[in-house]
């Protein structure tokens, strides 16, 4: 009896300001993580579709038309869910993070407005032609629409990553007012856009998206090849995606290194958390894998001695500032979480390089499609870049804590002041239900479209090809 009463007391006292903050963070993390399944896929698919349709325009071979049209149908599905979950993100700043919204509105707002007006409008505008326009516009106009949709989805990423990068490495602003009325105002738009981390983080994000999209194409085509369906189209599509995937996987090594470099220079506490490096000023190891103990401040695992020192300073003897160099309230608390997500992301990145270069080598030797085990791996490997994208964001955003705008605004200060924990519990439960339903819908429709496969050439004749194909005129 006593225990139960104690428990209840604990629960009710817990519903305070702290709790609202943590619940809001959970809600934001949940909704953004769910949203982020889709935009990388549409960005990556956009590029693959442009290549496929470009090949069709040059060669006029029906297999390129078939694969383009198949992927456009998948793209439409992914884009639709991306929009639905994206609208939530746009308003969640205001609902849960009102102080933050007031603080960054002058800066963040213009990036968000640019995203809405230019990128999103471009995408949605040409999407209509992309999906419904096969027999209404000429092939050239259609290709142009595909190009615009692909560009639009990348523009979206540009503005969103610019805004996020500004939070990590603020530039081109000054602070006006004090206390509750304090806010950052823009002094130089281009300095804001090209803040120190924009370019490197953007390239890392975009290439991560290329990997997500191309691995989806690889996966579906590997599935068809294994099932002996649509062999000619599937093999051709697999090769196109493999080129994109291999180039992207290799480039990701470069952009990843650059991004870590920027973190080292501008967010040293985050970098220290990446490697679980606590000592204030000591040579730092680089771990391949490990486990951080927050209490003993030690990492157990496999490491390259002084690896981090070398990576940052190109000197095995150079010291690196550790977490203890920062005040306790100024450094991330979830060090092991940041460590694990970061290292898993890196491990997946290396795996993707291994997979794609091996497949490319086998292709060069003319043995690619004989390796059924490799195709089995590719059929499932679609989950890898997705996981890496998610993990990368977890480490970037949790590593940024306790700041929402680095060194300027704390996450705990950014919350809506009128918000109560019960309200967030209510919305969190609703989001969980509806997103679960949405995810089921997505998998169901995706599976249905994949099972249906490429449309036969006969099916398409009444629409598009008749006009272009001289033999059918």
């Amino acid at each position: 009896m006593f225990r139960i009463r104690l428990g209840l007391k604990f629960a009710s006292s817990n519903i305070g300001f702290m709790n609202t903050e943590i619940l809001s963070r959970i809600q934001f993390a949940f909704t953004i993580a769910f949203h982020y399944i889709y935009p990388p896929l549409s960005i990556g698919l956009g590029v693959v579709m442009v290549i496929m349709e470009g090949l069709y325009l040059r060669t006029r071979k029906p297999i390129y038309e078939q694969m383009t049209r198949f992927w456009i149908r998948i793209f439409a599905l992914i884009f639709g869910i991306g929009v639905a979950t994206g609208i939530v993100m746009e308003f969640e700043f205001g609902t849960n993070w009102a102080v933050y919204s007031r603080y960054v509105g002058d800066i963040f707002g213009s990036a968000l407005a640019a995203e809405g007006i230019f990128a999103f409008a471009l995408e949605s505008g040409f999407l209509g032609i992309l999906i419904f326009g096969w027999n209404r516009v000429s092939p050239r106009v259609h290709f142009f629409a595909t190009l615009m949709v692909a560009l639009g989805s990348m523009f979206s990423a540009i503005w969103i990553v610019v805004a996020n990068s500004w939070q990590q490495t603020p530039a081109g602003y000054r602070i006006e007012g004090e206390g509750m009325k304090a806010r950052a105002v823009i002094t130089d738009f281009w300095e804001m856009v090209f803040n120190p981390s924009s370019i490197d983080r953007l390239s890392h994000v975009i290439i991560g998206a290329f990997l997500a999209g191309s691995f989806l194409v690889l996966s579906v085509n590997a599935y068809y090849i294994l099932r002996n369906r649509h062999l000619a189209i599937a093999k051709s599509g697999f090769k196109i995606a493999l080129v994109v995937a291999t180039v992207s996987a290799l480039m990701q090594l470069f952009t990843g290194h650059r991004s870590a470099d920027i973190v080292a220079r501008h967010q040293p506490a985050k970098l220290a958390a990446f490697e679980g490096h606590y000592d204030s000023l000591a040579v730092a190891d680089m771990y391949l894998m490990g486990w951080v103990d927050n209490k003993t401040q030690k990492v157990t695992g496999i490491s390259i001695p002084a690896g981090l020192s070398f990576l940052i300073h190109q000197d095995f003897k150079a010291p690196v500032r550790g977490l203890n160099a920062f005040k306790k309230e100024d450094r991330p608390s979830g060090v092991n979480f940041v460590f694990q997500t970061y290292h898993l992301m890196v491990a997946i990145g290396i795996t993707l390089i291994g997979l794609t270069t091996l497949a490319s080598f086998l292709w060069w030797r003319g043995k690619l499609f004989e390796q059924r085990w490799l195709l089995h791996i590719f059929a499932w490997a679609v989950l890898l870049p997705q996981a890496a994208n998610q993990l990368g964001w977890y480490s970037a955003e949790v590593g940024r804590q306790p700041w929402v705008v680095y060194n300027l605004l704390r996450t705990s200060d950014a919350l809506s002041q009128s918000l109560k924990a019960e309200q967030v519990i209510f919305s969190l439960i609703m989001f969980t239900w509806v997103y679960a339903l949405l995810f089921v819908l997505f998998l169901y429709l995706l599976n249905k479209k994949i099972k249906h496969g490429f449309m036969g050439y006969d099916e398409m004749i009444p629409e598009y090809s008749k006009r272009d194909n001289p033999l059918l005129k």
């Binding site: 919204s101 509105g105 707002g109 999103f120 471009l122 806010r183």
Partner: protein, 344 residues
């Protein structure tokens, strides 16, 4: 303070946002209205036709909401932060219902079972009604003002949100969208469904005219600040007069069965009602019911002139592009609905 043609930049942005939200109300208004009427159609084929009438355009219509939200955040971050945190539950219900409605539209056609389709029909229609009512409730609260303290923090409760005036505005909005949606559907259909819709158009128009009249009287009696501006600047009276003329024109065009003109008129009515609200509020955006000195205005709620100049430039380039593509999509899918294998 910088000005363009005698108006300061914040006022220009107020006009841009007013334009975008009017565009949203006109466009999403008819597909929400069509959704609200959905259960009045009994036959499967009628329901499919009604759904496919909005099929190619409904998600494009929601783009205007996305742009409106971004525009509010960019130009009036204080307003954006205040209303979305003040009306937390209503906005969450709104966002979640928005997704749920999209799910209903997409799921419905995927299986042929009767119970399946009926279930999604109901959820589609109910979510359309909830969305419309919550938009109206939010508007009703904005017209009256809300309990803001000197730091623009909301001090009211959820119960305040459902005050009688806001509920009245919510049902007026529902009546407007139902009429607007019915006129849209009648333009897009033929034969028996068309015949049925002509009756629905009449009934919803009566519903709207009644609600419009009640709201006008109640507003003049109980929300006097909405009329102040019209007394100060008499030529502003042109707007309410035009609104009434446009409402009369809807009934006239419906009687003549010129539904295209009736649709244009109901679009104009929607826009003019937004103008009436904007004129009544200006220069306030969110009135404080605690103390009018705590209200958020275009001056104390806006971004800096530098930021406003950047986004105004964006708008000058971007809005015509959005308008062009919207027109293009509607033009591409003009005419009566024909069901084919690509339909819902």
């Amino acid at each position: 303070m910088e000005t363009i043609l005698g108006l300061n930049l914040a006022t220009w942005w107020f006009l841009v946002i007013g334009g975008v939200f009017s565009g949203y109300a006109i466009l999403d208004g008819f597909d929400l209205g069509a959704g609200a009427l959905h259960l009045f159609f009994n036959k499967e084929e009628s329901r499919r036709k009604a759904l496919n009438a909005i099929g190619p355009v409904w998600d494009g219509n929601e783009v205007w909401l996305v742009i409106g939200g971004g525009a509010l955040f960019a130009g009036f971050p204080v307003v954006y932060a205040t209303i979305f945190s003040a009306f937390y539950e209503p906005f969450m219900v709104f966002l979640i219902t928005l997704i749920f409605r999209a799910i209903s539209i997409e799921f419905r056609s995927k299986e042929p079972m009767l119970w399946w389709r009926k279930g999604w029909d109901i959820s589609y229609s109910v979510s359309s009604i909830i969305l419309t009512l919550s938009l109206g409730l939010i508007l009703g609260n904005i017209i009256q003002g809300i309990a803001l303290d000197q730091n623009f923090i909301y001090k009211g409760t959820l119960a305040d949100f459902f005050n009688p005036y806001a509920v009245l505005i919510a049902f007026t909005t529902l009546s407007l969208f139902m009429m607007h949606g019915a006129i849209y559907l009648v333009m897009k259909t033929e034969n028996r469904l068309y015949a049925k819709l002509t009756i629905i158009v009449k009934n919803t128009t009566i519903f709207f005219v009644v609600m419009f009249s009640i709201t006008s009287v109640i507003t003049l009696l109980f929300v006097p600040h909405m009329a102040e501006r019209y007394e100060e600047v008499p030529y502003m009276f042109a707007f309410p007069v035009l609104a009434i003329l446009a409402v009369v024109n809807i009934t006239r065009q419906i009687a003549k069965r010129k539904y295209r003109y009736a649709f244009m008129s109901s679009a104009v009515v929607t826009a003019l009602l937004m103008v009436l609200v904007a004129v009544g509020l200006f220069p306030n955006i969110i009135l404080s019911s605690i103390n009018s000195a705590y209200s958020i205005t275009v001056h104390n709620g806006s971004s800096t002139d530098k930021s406003l100049k950047i986004i105004l430039l964006f708008a000058v380039i971007g809005v015509p592009i959005v308008a062009t593509y919207t027109t293009f999509v509607f033009w591409t899918f003009r005419g009566k609905v024909k069901l084919d294998d690509a339909s819902y």
